[in-house]
């Protein structure tokens, strides 16, 4: 598993969108169309708790971060922008 350090904005975007594409079975190009307001948990029926858990666990692996219980809330998972901001904060806080 590749752990990506020093991800800048564009690389983080690519990694996160790739991950969402993997979970939802989208073309990578399709996932690149996600914007900050694109809805995730609660908006995409495929994204149930099991899929979200897989997404977060894979984020830990690929980004080299640890996600605690308290980090996970509805807000952080609601939109692509919120998930990205969360990942950025985790990466910055190491």
């Amino acid at each position: 598993m590749t752990v990506s350090h020093n991800l800048d904005g564009a690389a983080l975007d690519l990694e996160l969108k790739g991950l969402i594409a993997d979970v939802l079975g989208l073309d990578p190009d399709q996932a690149q169309a996600f914007g900050p307001d694109s809805g995730l948990f609660g908006h995409l029926p495929e994204l149930d708790s099991m899929a979200v858990a897989g997404l977060l666990t894979e984020m830990e692996d690929r980004l080299g971060i640890v996600i605690e219980d308290d980090d996970v809330d509805g807000e952080m998972l609601e939109t692509y922008g919120a998930l990205r901001a969360f990942a950025e904060a985790k990466l910055g806080g190491r």
Partner: protein
């Protein structure tokens, strides 16, 4: 319909378990240790597709049910890591397997006497982490607060139902430290060596013919003596 019989524990009559087999009595006989729980569902079709390709390449493929899973009538909550290891070893002997392909958490119970491959092996702690996280997220959605620490303690003491799978306390505790170990003659086949996203990640079960092609091709090459 094919069956095999796992070892009887504590004198109870052994029950037959089912398996999916492409069995034409050939020299190369591959035991497939399936992925577990939710991943088993997501990877079932992919697993069978890999077996079909290996069958066409001249390899018999044998995919037993784990006791307590799939069509098995045994209660899942009674299963243990050691019991599953013994069951896979018994299946290998009963089915005269020559090699093993262990998928994801299946790598935790691959019979060490067989050469073969661990595909995208998953450790016990990672398996539990993902399943517990799914439960805490679902609980939060329902307005209930559950913490990972409390659930881990409950799992150790009394077992825990995660994603609909009732995991007994012995299996739960064993998974907390279980790591896949490559026995002599076994090698890792990482997802990066196959290419494309792991199908266990998909929110919905899916298939990918090109990934099945590549995994089967790696195994055929390796059986023919090429480096894995």
């Amino acid at each position: 319909m094919f069956t095999w019989t796992p070892p009887a524990t504590d004198g109870t009559p052994a029950r037959e378990e089912l398996l999916v087999a492409f069995d034409r009595g050939r020299d190369l006989r591959l035991l497939v240790c399936p992925a577990w729980f939710d991943e088993a569902n997501k990877l079932r079709r992919f697993t069978i597709e890999v077996m079909r390709r290996l069958d066409r390449a001249g390899v018999d493929c044998l995919l037993p049910d784990l006791p307590g899973c799939n069509e098995s009538l045994a209660p899942l909550t009674d299963q243990t890591l050691e019991g599953w290891r013994a069951a896979m070893t018994a299946a290998a002997e009963a089915l005269r397997a020559t090699h093993v392909l262990a998928i994801r958490a299946g790598a935790l119970i691959a019979p060490p006497a067989l050469p073969g491959w661990h595909y995208a092996a998953l450790s016990g702690p990672k398996l539990l982490r993902g399943m517990i996280r799914a439960r805490t997220i679902a609980a939060r959605e329902a307005g209930i607060t559950e913490t990972t620490d409390a659930l881990m303690a409950e799992g150790r003491a009394a077992g825990l139902t995660l994603g609909g799978w009732a995991i007994g306390p012995a299996l739960f505790a064993a998974l907390e430290t279980a790591e896949p170990v490559l026995a002599p003659g076994q090698s890792d086949l990482a997802q990066s060596a196959i290419g494309g996203p792991g199908l266990w990640l998909r929110a919905e079960p899916d298939e990918d013919a090109s990934q099945a092609d590549r995994l089967a091709a790696r195994i055929v090459q390796s059986l023919a003596g090429a480096p894995a």
